[in-house]
């Protein structure tokens, strides 16, 4: 992976902005952390939906799994999990700072690894489905996971799961800073990984699967293998994002927070499409724009925010069908390193 000088400036600029952000806008730490999580979700969804042409609604499964796993490990390492989640329980357990961070660290590792394995296993069985069948099947996965987890007593079932409260260290801002830097770190990690694989043959194979899977297979590519690996990569980062989000929200509900298919599950698709799927920067820009609009609507159109959001989506679909990146690319092709031969273009227009 080579980085040009211009790119290096850009990356360092973003990195500095990212590190400085919580100090520049101290009141927005939570929103910024959520933005990082949203970008991670949109970027990893893009591996399936954008590059591979498999519209997955199932990535929420890994996100929710990561959330429950991280919190369970964090509690279970030090206290009996069943007593923690029991509603009528009279005991109060408090994590010491060391226990909290240790638990979080181990929890995040588990939250990343287990969904990856699950993605491998599920992927093996359902990635043979194509088109609508795959989309519907993955949609079912998320819904089923929500209902099942809502019945498991040890993780709180319908009562929900209160994650360990942040210990008393540093100032009032330390919780926000901790979660922000954690999510920003995961974002950077995701970006490096995704950019890395997009610069290899792996991406070309994913594109080949999207454009014509049968042909790709005929060319001797083991498409199944690549599809599964691609999904496992997404699952890894979705799990991490879920683990962080669980700690950030502080309360896990089976269908509304963890396996939140109708919000997060749809948003990740929407953000990638808004920004322009099948590009590296599209989902990032899409998630940022989406988040800003959403927060804005919430403040200024109280009670009507979803109507406003719906109008925004309609506008996007009509005027920017290829997403923001696609629109920019059409408008300023030369900025994307595309050379346009005016004469040739005119000739083509005349032919039509």
């Amino acid at each position: 992976m080579s980085i040009s000088k211009n790119n290096l400036i850009l990356y360092v600029g973003i990195l500095i902005f990212g590190i400085a952000a919580p100090f520049l806008f101290p009141a927005f730490k939570v929103q910024l952390s959520i933005l990082c999580v949203l970008i991670v979700l949109a970027t990893t969804w893009n591996i399936q939906g954008g590059e591979m042409g498999y519209n997955s609604f199932g990535n929420i499964l890994f996100y929710g799994l990561g959330m429950y796993l991280c919190a369970s490990v964090q509690v279970g390492m030090f206290f009996p999990l069943a007593e923690w989640t029991e509603s009528g329980g009279e005991k109060t357990f408090v994590h010491t700072p060391a226990q909290f961070f240790q638990g979080m660290a181990v929890g995040l590792v588990v939250a990343a690894v287990v969904p990856t394995i699950v993605a491998g296993l599920i992927g093996y069985s359902i990635l043979g489905l194509r088109g609508h069948y795959f989309a519907i099947c993955t949609l079912g996965l998320g819904v089923a996971a929500g209902e099942i987890s809502g019945g498991i007593e040890i993780i709180g079932a319908g009562q929900g799961f209160t994650t360990p409260p942040f210990p008393d260290v540093g100032s009032l801002d330390s919780r926000g800073e901790f979660f922000y830097f954690l999510s920003f770190f995961v974002l950077v990690l995701t970006f490096i990984a995704v950019r890395g694989i997009y610069s290899t043959r792996f991406k070309l194979i994913l594109n080949a699967i999207r454009d014509n899977e049968d042909k790709a297979e005929a060319m001797g590519i083991e498409t199944m293998k690549y599809k599964i690996v691609g999904w496992m990569i997404s699952a890894f980062f979705c799990g991490l994002a879920g683990g962080i989000m669980g700690g950030l929200v502080g309360y896990i509900d089976s269908t509304d927070v963890a396996f939140d298919g109708r919000e997060m599950g749809v948003f990740m698709v929407l953000m990638a499409i808004l920004g322009g799927k099948g590009t590296l920067w599209g989902p990032i820009i899409g998630a940022t724009v989406f988040h800003i609009f959403k927060e804005g609507f919430w403040t200024f159109f109280l009670g009507w925010q979803y109507v406003a959001l719906g109008v925004l989506i309609v506008v996007i679909v009509i005027y920017f069908p290829e997403g923001i990146m696609g629109w920019l690319r059409e408008k300023y092709p030369e900025r994307f390193g595309e050379i346009v031969d005016e004469k040739d273009r005119k000739a083509q227009v005349e032919l039509k």
């Binding site: 600029g13 959520i34 009528g88 309360y251 509304d256 939140d260 920067w281 109280l302 009670g303 900025r335």
Partner: protein
Amino acid sequence: MKLNKIILSFISALAILFSTSVVSLAKVVGDKIVLGAAISLTGKYSSNGVHTQNGYNMAVDRINSMGGVKVGGKTYKFDIIYYDDESNPKRAAQLAERLISQDGVEFMLGPYSSGLTKAIAPVTEKYGVPMVEANGASRSLFTKGYKYLFAVLAPANLYLDVAIDLAVEKNNGKGVTVAMAFEQDAFSQDVRLGVLDAIKRTGSKKVIDDKLPKELNDMAATLVKVKQMKPDVLVVSGHTKGALTAIRQISEMKVDVPMLAMTHCDAAKLSKQHGKNSQYALCASQWHKTLTYKDKFFKDGMTYDADFTKEFGYAPPYQAAESSAALLVFKDAFERANSFDQKKVRDALAATNMQTFYGNIKFAEGGQNVDKPMVLFQVMCDDAGKCENKVVAPTKWASAKLIHPIPSWSKR
């Protein structure tokens, strides 16, 4: 690459946007005490969210028009910043954070439902923001050691255990068979635990124990089982939708059961929406207009009921009444603390011991109100089909006698 320029200018635009949108309101602006609240204006709890908001607004107007809050010799008025949490805990936690760190709110009112309160409590606790909540009844809220959480209502496990006791009493002290159907959410599941305790205590037996989905639109499967098993008591809890679904399907399927115990009958306006079909339903309630509590702002339950109906066009369910009570508690605490220091207000709240039109309020160590028992009312209709909720238990407030067992559908 020119693309970088686009992205860089995008980021700087973002930075400008963020920095210009920082608006910080202090909690006490001029003569206003600004309280924050995340309310479910949309989503599955929206009807109860609106009851909550109406309750808050009603009390704000009343307190403001009757002299406001006197702190340090100065008179202040209440003001509330609302956000819509969409009945989603994730959103509620975010909004609590936003109210506190962006809007600078230093005192909070609770949201609707236990689940959302559970999501907000860790945030208010972290910032040491006193929160008086009126709609989070789940017991687990009060066992987490929260210091800044105060609930004016009795915990969820006390909602329907009285109904089991009543059924046992009618059965000459012998245990009864109980069928249970509860929504999978924090509140309803806690009601379930209370019923389970009562079953154990009275030597009764549970024959059906179903969990219902959150968007509760169908419980036919449970009712088919009820028809087969013929239990003595059927207990259903699932917020407003649960109550409506239960009555609709019980009447459609003509399910005969001697006792039907529910929650949220008044919030669902059952007697209005389903008329005679809802007759004989036994409902747990935090408040009823005929209770004889009094205060100087709303006088008593009957007056509150009349004033509320005049203002909002429907009779107040207990969700509205308890929400109004939350503001009375805040006013009382501010005046006793005689300060806006969060710690002092918190201590004043903890020492609350007062009577409101809604009931006595006194907080236990965990923050729950221990001075106000639950009541049970039964939907009773006259021959013309006009239905009314009448208190049947506890006997101290009973205005009618419990009709038991419920006559079968063929005789109605």
